[in-house]
Amino acid sequence: MQQRQQEINAKKAKLAELKARRENRANQAAAGRTGSGSHPELVHPTPGRGDKTDIENLINKLVGESRPGSTFGSASPAQRGSRPNSVLSAGELSTKFSDFASQANGQQPAQASPPSQPQVLTTVPLQTVYECPPSPVKEIFSYSKGVQTTDEWTGPSTRPRAISELPDEDDLSGVTSTPNKRLSRRAREREEDLRLKLRKEIEEELKATKELVIDGVLPESSVANANFPARTLTAEELKAVTASDEFLDFVERSTKVIERALDQSYDVLTDYSLQINDVDDVEDQAGNTAGKGRRRVKEVVQFYDERWSKKRMVSSIDFSPKFPELLLASYTKNPSAPHDPDGIVQVWNSHLQDRPEFIFHAQSDILTAKFSPFHPNLIIGGTYSGQVLLWDTRARSAPVQKTPLTGSGHSHPVYSVDIVGTQNANNIISVSTDGALCVWSVDMLSQPQESLTLTSPPPSKFEDVAPTTMAFPQADPTYFLIGTEEGPIYPCHRYDRAGAKAGIDSRVSYKGHAAPVMSVAYHPPRGPVDLGDLVLSASLDWSVKLWKVRAPAATSTIVDATGTSVAPLLDLAREDVVYDAAWSPVRPGVFALVDGAGSMEIWDLSVETEIPVAKISPTARKEGRQLLSKSLNKVAWEPSEGKRVAVGGIDSVVTVFEVGPDLGGKDGVKAEEYTSIKKLVARLEASNAGGVV
């Protein structure tokens, strides 16, 4: 008994101590409220697991020892007083713990009959909740709090916050309200008050932190100032990071963006009111120009990549139909780099001058490539091995589709491909030098949809025909012209039609070139007068010829069924082999040609039919080969505005020129230009007829 008494006394003393601490804590809480926001643990108020085990140990110890003593009912009421402000609450207790509690509960009615017990048990819901027997649990709580506060008080914010979220706190206080009455009312009220305040404060803070998390950026920023840099990465970590694909992609994308940004030569901050003296030399600092005044031709940019362009010839050039700043160039193999892909296509951006926007590969030299006019992401190409390839700018550099090398496809070089049809129904047409013509679906290149073999019409000695180039009129996807290695240009039908079988139309041919025809181009059908029957052809016989072709239906009216040969309207003899000629997309009389001497010539037939209006050569690359390096293979106009023209050739550089307002650009086009071309054609026809008769 004596021992019991001592124990009770000790507990009482402890209780007093606890009270004092509580008050102390209240003060601290009030003081620490301002600084409490800085605690990072706030975001995750999960109590440590270690605490729990501590508590369990404690419970075991306590219950084991003091349970028998609970017959002294007088001891418990005093201790109940500490219950309401218990730091732990139901949520924090594990189920194990509650098991234990109910165990204690079972013990309770048998041994003890404290006066307060019946009062508590009268309410039914209390029995369903596991903390219904307040006395044992409360005892435990008071001790557990003692344990927590015996260590140095770590600050008001950490612990109380843990309670605040728990919803059943109100229930708890409701349960213990009876014993609480015995506690001094003042103390309880103060306690309640404090708790309310704390709770409010914590809720606000929680809300705030939640908002921060939703924002997603702020947490970084708040941490940024606090601890930046997190730490220096070790060599291994750096290696791991820089070797990851993610990082490589990042470098690829971000450097592209930066280079575009730096290549923007225009200074947005230029203040024209300040530097009047600098402006007038713009016209004089010419660079590489030709022509005069409104017919000036000026070199704008050259594209060359040391890694990929080197020692490759430019085999074709095409501007993107969708993005006027993009143009593609296809290249043949680099003989000194056998491990690189033989054929490549580079897509250049006039805002990104040092590197291509995209590179596409092929296993064989690419002889021709062009953007699909119906889908800006797709690029088609033809190779020396006879494959037709399809690349996608959204995919990697390998072709997304390719035609088979064997069986039904081409087995000879494909020098010409095109996409014809409409937005919703278009096909790839390819022709190889053995005369095979294939029609492919863009979705399936494993097998041609149609195939046709072109054979030379009867008068010639051999059946073989070697098409080097192909041209479709804008209006008719079933009829086209081919230029051949032998020299003649033939009209062809894709299908049988009235008076003509599929293949080369034997009734008419356009003979005039004495060497392989390198290009055939229909006049673009824009403007008030239809000049769509005008065709321009370039040949290795040092000439460019202008033809008036017959409409496909009109050929049947010709009296002598076979072998009608049509002579050119106009024969423009040049000073070297002509590799390519292309009509301006906006000016009716303007065309550009490139020759083996490395010059580009701009002609305007509405002005002059004897000499070009401008002649210019691209700036030679410094380290370029001197001998035979100048020849230009291809020329292409930018289709929408017609202001820029790109050329490329043996020295692997793609050069873009800009033409003056009288040679390009939609704005200054006059109807007279069309009528003057029409008159010119009529005059030439008349004189040709006169000459023959």
Partner: protein, 144 residues
Amino acid sequence: MAMADKTLPSVTADSMDDALHRLSRKPGVKGWIMLDRTTGAVVKTNGQISTIRPARSSSTTSLPTPTGGSFSTDVNANTNNETQAAQELGSMVWSFLSTAGTLVQELDTDDELKLLRLRTKKQELVIVPEVKYILVVVHDTPPA
């Protein structure tokens, strides 16, 4: 078709070095830094970062780097200067970026920051924030 092995992936470590090398050689480029977006750690750097802050470069102690490598930094003064300058610049860019990011988020929560060009009287900072990394290039601008 057994020829597929001849094609190369478009992005290789080789091409990455090329791209970075070319970037460094671009006229006017003073230097660049790559940062990890989440931690802010410097991943790669190049160029004379210390010259970008002429006032600071002399007195490195004025802004102590908070943690990490600062302990071992006393070993090599010169390269250390650069790393520290890079870290400092990285830290400044990073906090600037998060402020800008906050602005963008405040305007429209669906929006995203894509490019920052910070033009000053003397130079320009071009910052490309990507999902995981950040590239910062400092370059001279034509005297305006």
